[in-house]
């Protein structure tokens, strides 16, 4: 029988295995050594590896990112943990001006093997500054890699790869995915960039779901089945570098592409993916496209507004139905209780 682990335990195991394998791996960030241990993702590490390799930091995201870069320049492999992606805004100078550029602007003399773990929140009133999926900022900058795994299997494999990678990696985690369970081998393995995963096959439409929206895309696929539409669902896993080939091949077959992002649309990953696909196909196949993501407003905490802010399985299914059939039918699927959204339950 396959071993089942939660996303949280997959992250913890990946970190533990890499720290055991390589004494240069260190883990730090606000609260990584506190009793809650970042949802459990860093549980037990300080007891096993000691407070020099695992430590909580002052509330200094800017400097601590620089510290991570400096440690990496000296040969360590730091994993810098942020309990919210929103907090990375305090670290942009170090990430964009130094981490991304050092190898290049120093003519290949140095490297910055750094992992930045950043968490996105949703539901239970996360609101304006606990909910942002700002990974497109980092996709924009040459020299940074971006991973956004959705399954526990990929969570472990991407993190092990990220730690071994000799370049800075922004590793994006969605808090709701933390609770999901899935098969995870005990052995060390990596999920490197270069290969997106077809998570469900289909011939009528290509659905690309990023981060948590991968789960909603799979729900949408189930709703669409009841209308006789077969969606192929793709998880990019790594956003930068991005495996566009897998998406292009799918779209060549389906002629329809809907990208559902866990972010706003403007200048986001969805815009980038659709552009890359259309550039590649250059009209050789007629393609209809659609983007979905956050409403173009600040995330509200109150549930009636928050529900409308995010795409979900049903709204995705409705949009994709029209993308496939043409027109604006107003079709909406019957609610399937077993597909209801998993809500994050506070307090945290």
């Amino acid at each position: 029988m396959k071993r089942m682990l939660s996303f949280v335990d997959a992250v913890r195991e990946a970190t533990d295995q890499e720290m055991e394998r390589d004494a240069s791996v260190i883990v730090f960030g606000l609260d990584v050594d506190d009793p809650k241990a970042i949802q459990g993702t860093t549980r037990g590490l300080v007891e096993k590896y000691g407070p020099e390799r695992v430590f909580g930091t002052p509330l200094s995201e800017d400097a601590m990112t620089g510290v991570a870069i400096g440690a990496a320049l000296a040969g360590l492999k730091p994993v810098h943990v942020h309990i919210r992606m929103d907090f990375l805004m305090l670290a942009m100078n170090q990430l964009v001006n130094i981490a991304a550029k050092s190898r290049y602007m120093y003519g290949g003399q140095v490297q910055v093997p750094l992992v930045v773990r950043a968490m996105i929140g949703k539901s239970w009133g996360q609101g304006a500054q606990h909910s942002q999926g700002l990974y497109s900022f980092f996709m924009h900058v040459p020299g940074l890699k971006v991973a956004a795994p959705t399954t526990p299997y990929d969570a472990k494999g991407c993190l092990i790869h990220a730690i071994r990678d000799n370049d800075p990696v922004i590793y994006v985690e969605h808090r709701i995915l933390h609770f999901q369970k899935g098969p995870v081998p005990e052995a060390h393995y990596t999920v490197p960039p270069g290969k997106a995963r077809i998570t469900a096959p289909g011939a009528d439409v290509t659905l690309v779901g990023i981060s948590y929206m991968q789960v909603e895309c799979l729900r949408a696929r189930s709703y669409l089945e009841s209308a006789g539409i077969h969606a192929e669902v793709i998880d990019p896993i790594w956003l930068s570098p991005l495996d566009v080939d897998t998406i292009v091949e799918s779209v060549r077959k389906t002629g329809r592409l809907c990208v559902v992002d866990n972010d706003w649309l403007t200048c986001g990953a969805s815009a980038e993916i659709i552009t890359l696909v259309l550039e590649r196909l250059q009209g050789t196949v007629p393609v209809r496209v659609r983007r979905m993501g956050y409403a173009p407003v600040t995330c509200p905490p109150t549930p009636t507004l928050e529900d409308r802010y995010y795409p979900n399985g049903k709204t995705i299914a409705s949009a994709v139905y029209d993308l496939v059939k043409g027109g604006q039918s107003g079709w909406a699927p019957q609610e399937k209780v077993e597909l209801q959204e998993v809500q994050f339950k506070g307090p945290f």
């Binding site: 800017d62 620089g66 870069i69 400096g70 730091p78 100078n93 120093y106 020299g143 990678d165």
Partner: protein
């Protein structure tokens, strides 16, 4: 020892004078922030460091790079945008690097390398090495939030690092006392829990003595960090080869005492004339050779644009 200091000071001054002389020809493909007037800080500091100690600097780092042992030919080639430059023409004057000599890089964004120096020191401590880190920045960096965050963490972890604030009184054209109520940089360091001392007047030997003592303590396991505010003066404009007294934000009167007390001239008086002419002859030959090297080095081929983005 005085001879060594004189050679380093003279060499840096003359290299930068040559850069200033060549600059109008447009052969130098990089904005230059000259250290002329401030060389004493880098020389005093670096003469107290070992080859395996490392230094992080600022966009005004020609002096630090050379004093720490960075390769002169590669530096000039870098300014020329040539393939044999220390960063293959991809860094320029503001991002000089020579890892072999312990010059770990410099940033155009003020204050940005301070936490990297702290992180490097954290690694050295974890790796049980007895090397030390020097973090060099200007008085402008003290205005930045990252300075304070970095001081706090370095003190909290007792790291083997020496902070050197080159206080030349101006951030571009704005005087320190237009940017802060009090001229109290050392006090600001002290509140984080580290000893801090102001060293006035481009005192190259004084800086050397204090930094040597700090480095000795750090190597013997005493807790860091140490902080030195070294008063100095920029004689050229913020960026470029000219003077800027005509702009009116400072007067040439203010510069007078710094010019009169130029440490290069002061030290020259302590070196015998035979030794001096030998040093100067050798340095001039080295500079000629470095500029010829840069002239003759090829520009990088267009394909070089895409290398060094990622390692693998």
């Amino acid at each position: 020892m005085v001879e060594r200091f004189y050679r380093s000071l003279y060499r840096i001054r003359r290299v930068e004078e040559e850069i200033a002389a060549v600059y109008p020809t447009d052969k130098i493909k990089s904005p230059v922030h000259l250290s002329i007037g401030q060389e004493a800080v880098s020389v005093g500091l670096c003469e107290a460091l070992r080859a395996d100690d490392v230094a992080f600097g600022t966009y005004r780092s020609h002096a630090l790079y050379l004093a720490k042992g960075g390769d002169l030919k590669k530096m000039i080639a870098e300014l020329y945008g040539k393939l044999d430059g220390c960063a293959k023409g991809k860094g320029g004057s503001m991002h000089l690097v020579d890892v072999g000599a312990g010059v770990m890089g410099a940033s155009a964004v003020v204050g940005t390398t301070i936490p990297q120096a702290v992180g490097f020191a954290y690694a050295l401590k974890l790796q049980r090495k007895d090397a030390v880190v020097a973090s060099v920045f200007g008085d402008g960096a003290v205005d930045e939030g990252v300075f304070h965050e970095s001081m706090n963490f370095a003190a909290l972890k007792s790291l083997p690092i020496i902070f050197v604030c080159e206080n030349n009184f101006y951030a571009i054209h704005t005087h320190q006392l237009k940017r802060r109520k009090l001229a109290n940089i050392c006090e600001q360091a002290q509140v984080y829990g580290m000893p801090a001392e102001q060293i006035p007047g481009n005192d190259v030997l004084g800086i050397h003595e204090r930094v040597s003592e700090a480095a000795r303590k750090l190597r013997s396991g005493e807790p860091g960090p140490f902080f030195f505010e070294c008063l100095t003066y920029r004689l050229k404009e913020h960026v470029g080869p000219n003077e800027d007294f005509h702009l009116g934000f400072r007067s040439s009167d203010e510069a007078k005492s710094w010019i009169e007390n130029d440490p290069i001239r002061r030290l020259a008086e302590q070196v015998s004339s035979t030794e001096r002419s030998k040093i100067e002859r050798e340095v001039e030959a080295e500079i000629r050779e470095a500029f010829a090297f840069a002239e003759n080095s090829p520009f990088p081929k267009p394909d070089e644009l895409y290398t060094d983005v990622f390692g693998s």
